[in-house]
């Protein structure tokens, strides 16, 4: 569970500005720039995005084969083990960079649930969710948009580049279905990314008298006092912040069963090892059926279940 950080080698020296937005105040209406494939490509020869399929205002385009991969950098879906490895590296490098930059960010949704269970990413998750404050997104947009950060983490063969891309529509405060995500932290080698959303003040609700109302562009609503003050803790071995009333937010979003159910998505939580163990074989999986042996529950799941043959 603890990853030795001493061997971490990172090269945040190269901060290349691929696209610079020149601030020309006289010309008020500059067309919104995009980051097309030719400008940002790494190893692929053709893009796997289909920008025509998405609505015209949508900035981020997901790949054609899976919604959690960036088509400019990914050509295929990763298998289970590779995906877990790369997602872990993704969040670790993100947290490290944000810590260096000094941006206030915290984990939410699926990542927060994984944190609650065992301080790790849930193995069946294919994306990660973080939030930033309004001040942070402005700072990132102004100084770190389209920056590439080079990291070489232990366990991964060579160093890889991570790109921070900010959605120009982040300035629009209202709920937009096409541009819910305000920024992305993208792994340019595998195409995996972290969705970054901003927690904004809900001016309409506050005008109506709800004190401390906050909102996010993907239609989530929160109260200021549920998120702040943030708690400092650890996630995948790296320092991270979580919201103040984390359990309440989790129960509200996912229900009580998400915090107590040990069998989910073909995985079983091992209380002794404190890990989600995949049930890879059909013999194991049939036990999850409604009338199977596990439907009546066991007193101590760590022992009574068959050990994973894998």
């Amino acid at each position: 569970m603890k990853i030795a950080l001493g061997v971490l080698i990172c090269f945040p020296v190269l901060v290349r500005c691929i696209i610079g937005l020149p601030k020309v105040p006289d010309i008020p209406k500059l067309p919104k720039r995009d980051a097309p494939f030719q400008d940002v490509r790494t190893r692929l020869h053709r893009t796997h995005q289909d920008a025509d399929e998405d609505s015209p205002e949508k900035y981020f385009h997901e790949s054609t084969f899976h919604q959690h991969y960036d088509g400019r950098f990914a050509d295929k879906k990763l298998n289970y083990d590779d995906r877990r490895k790369h997602l872990t590296a993704l969040i670790q490098t993100y947290l490290s960079s944000m810590n260096d930059i000094g941006a206030e960010t915290w984990i939410m949704h699926g990542s927060l649930l994984g944190w609650w269970w065992n301080r790790k990413i849930l193995p069946w998750d294919s994306d990660l969710d973080v939030m930033v404050s309004e001040k942070s997104i402005h700072h990132l947009a102004q100084y770190y948009n389209m920056t590439v950060h080079h990291y070489q983490l232990p366990g991964l063969d060579e160093g890889r580049d991570y790109m921070l891309e900010v959605n120009p529509h982040y300035t629009n405060d209202s709920v937009e279905s096409a541009n819910k995500i305000d920024a992305r932290w993208i792994d340019t080698d595998t195409g995996l990314f972290i969705d970054i959303t901003t927690l904004r003040r809900n001016k309409t609700a506050q005008a109506q008298g709800i004190e401390g109302a906050m909102m996010v562009k993907d239609k989530h609503h929160y109260l200021y006092d549920d998120i702040f003050p943030l708690r400092e803790t650890k996630f995948e071995g790296f320092p991270v912040k979580v919201p103040f009333a984390y359990s309440e937010l989790l129960v509200e979003e996912y229900g009580e069963r998400a915090l107590t159910q040990m069998f989910f998505e073909n995985h079983r939580f091992d209380p002794e090892k404190q890990e989600w163990v995949p049930l890879r074989y059909a013999a194991d999986q049939h036990r999850l059926l409604p009338n199977g042996p596990l439907s009546h529950g066991t007193s101590y799941w760590g022992r009574r279940l068959p050990s994973d043959p894998g």
Partner: protein, 503 residues
């Protein structure tokens, strides 16, 4: 002629009468069936008409032989009356005539038939009395089941189900859960325990106080009312000592001066987390518009606190445990005024049966209710789905069960040791468990514990056998409550009124 029709050839066993005498007797004609009698009922009888058949005479002559008398004057047939026609037939006769049997039973005109006998029965007084008694008994039984027994059994069952794995695929207390910086569980200093090592005479007392929330004047008034003596008494606060009230720094100073213990409440938690970002910076304070009112107030308070206050807040554990008082008298099941067992002091509550180390710190400082099935706590009094109960209800039920020694078989297990124990118990079989029942297991069984808590001002003072809620809403104009525990285990409640400081 009679001889021919007799058909019995071999019975010449020495009769005294001669054959001619017999012939004379038997040749007297039978009386004819009178016309007024109508047709005989037995018209379907296919056999010989025994009485009118001359052959019958020979049969009756044979039976005469077995009798002991001889009649010379009149034939036997003259003595036969026809009264048999009016009497009831025997069962054997009925068996031979099924159709008549039915007609006889349902014939409404006949007195002996079923409908008529039933009607007679119903009309009879005795039967009606019996019926009335049976009906009343049935009604009483039914309603007592429905209104009294069944809900109680259902309630017991529901409460028990929350602890069993059968309905849920997991339970609260398995996951790693939240994060707590500081001491999670602290035992009270043994010197301070009434009747303990440092107090052989049993003079010491423990004074538990509910949410103070910065009401310093009321706190001093209460200590005076209790007769607090710093040499023998020890003050234990249930958290939320600061925020909302008029003199937060003053309260902290007083607690530090008295060397009081306190557990961490949700407001102290907020202050400590906010301190990480706010303290040590020279940034201008954030306004309430940029943050929230609560946050702005906390920020303001943090600027007033000194390092010794911060140290005191950080030293507050999540739970404080007090061992059972050595001098306490024997405990009884329903005694609310005494505490004989281990005490756990928390700010909001604990979930029963889950080990203390596995309780999520956020819930320990904020919970008011528990979900029925999963036992997941909630800060709300009632969750949206409506399947929650006040946590102390389940806590009291569980500890009462422990007190009575009822088995916890089938309940959730949280560690390998518990599992091993259960396996051992199961492998013993009925003889082993009988032995254990008689001679005792010798293993330490789980003991019930008393919880002292605050946080729920709306509920007010809540004194039950296993849980003592001491928050009586002082800062909102209610009362400030203290529970005084002496060495013998006796508790006393002392309250003072408070001014309303809520703006």
């Amino acid at each position: 002629m009679a001889q021919q029709e007799m058909g019995y050839q071999d019975d010449n066993d020495g009769q005294e009468r001669s054959l001619s005498e017999w012939q004379q007797e038997l040749q007297t004609p039978f009386p004819r069936r009178p016309e007024w009698a109508g047709a005989s009922v037995e018209t379907s009888y296919a056999g010989p008409d025994l009485l009118y058949d001359p052959g019958y005479a020979s049969h009756s002559a044979r039976t005469l032989r077995h009798g002991d008398y001889t009649r010379r004057s009149a034939p036997l047939i003259d003595q036969v009356s026809n009264g048999w026609r009016n009497s009831e037939k025997t069962a054997g006769f009925y068996a031979a005539e099924p159709e008549d049997h039915d007609l006889r039973l349902c014939d409404l005109e006949d007195e002996g038939s079923c409908p008529n006998t039933t009607a007679d029965l119903v009309r009879s007084r005795r039967f009606r009395r019996m019926l009335a008694v049976v009906l009343v008994a049935a009604v009483v039984l039914y309603y007592s089941w429905r209104w009294y027994l069944q809900p109680r059994l259902q309630e017991e069952w529901d409460l028990k189900q929350g602890f069993m794995p059968a309905r849920s695929n997991g339970t609260y207390g398995i996951a790693r859960a939240g994060h707590f910086e500081g001491t999670a569980i602290k035992w009270l200093d043994p010197e301070l325990v009434p009747g303990g090592e440092g107090d052989s005479k049993g003079n010491r007392r423990l004074v538990f106080v509910g949410d103070i929330h910065g009401c310093k004047k009321e706190l001093l008034h209460l200590l005076e009312k209790v007769g607090f003596d710093a040499k023998t008494d020890h003050l234990i606060a249930t958290g939320d000592t600061v925020s909302k009230g008029p003199d937060n720094v003053g309260v902290l100073d007083e607690l530090i001066r008295l060397k009081a213990d306190s557990v961490r409440g949700n407001h102290e938690d907020r202050l400590l987390e906010a301190a990480k970002t706010l303290l040590g910076t020279n940034l201008p304070p954030e306004s309430a518009a940029a943050t929230s009112q609560g946050y702005a107030k906390d920020a303001k308070l943090l600027r007033e606190l000194k390092p010794k206050h911060m140290r005191y807040l950080r030293d507050m554990p999540l739970m404080l445990r007090i061992p059972a008082l050595p001098h306490a008298s024997a405990s009884r099941r329903k005694d609310k005024d005494r505490v004989h067992e281990n005490i756990i002091v928390v700010h909001a509550g604990v979930v029963p049966h889950v080990p203390l180390e596995k309780q999520d710190p956020y819930f320990v400082m904020n919970m008011r209710s528990i979900d029925d099935r999963t036992h997941l706590p909630s800060a709300l009094r009632e969750t949206k789905k409506g399947k929650s109960r006040p946590w102390m209800e389940i806590w009291n039920w569980y500890n009462d069960r422990l007190f009575r020694g009822r088995s916890l078989k089938g309940f959730h297990l949280y560690s390998a040791d518990e599992y091993e124990e259960e396996q051992l118990a199961e492998s013993q079989g009925w003889l082993g468990s009988l032995w254990d029942g008689v001679f005792g297991t010798g293993k330490a069984k789980m003991k019930p514990q008393v919880v002292v808590y605050g946080h729920d001002s709306k509920a007010g003072l809540q004194m039950h056998r296993w849980s003592k809620g001491l928050d009586s809403g002082c800062v909102a104009g209610g009362k400030l409550t203290a529970m005084v525990l002496d060495a013998k285990g006796k508790t006393e409640i002392v309250q003072v009124g408070c001014k309303n400081y809520k703006t």
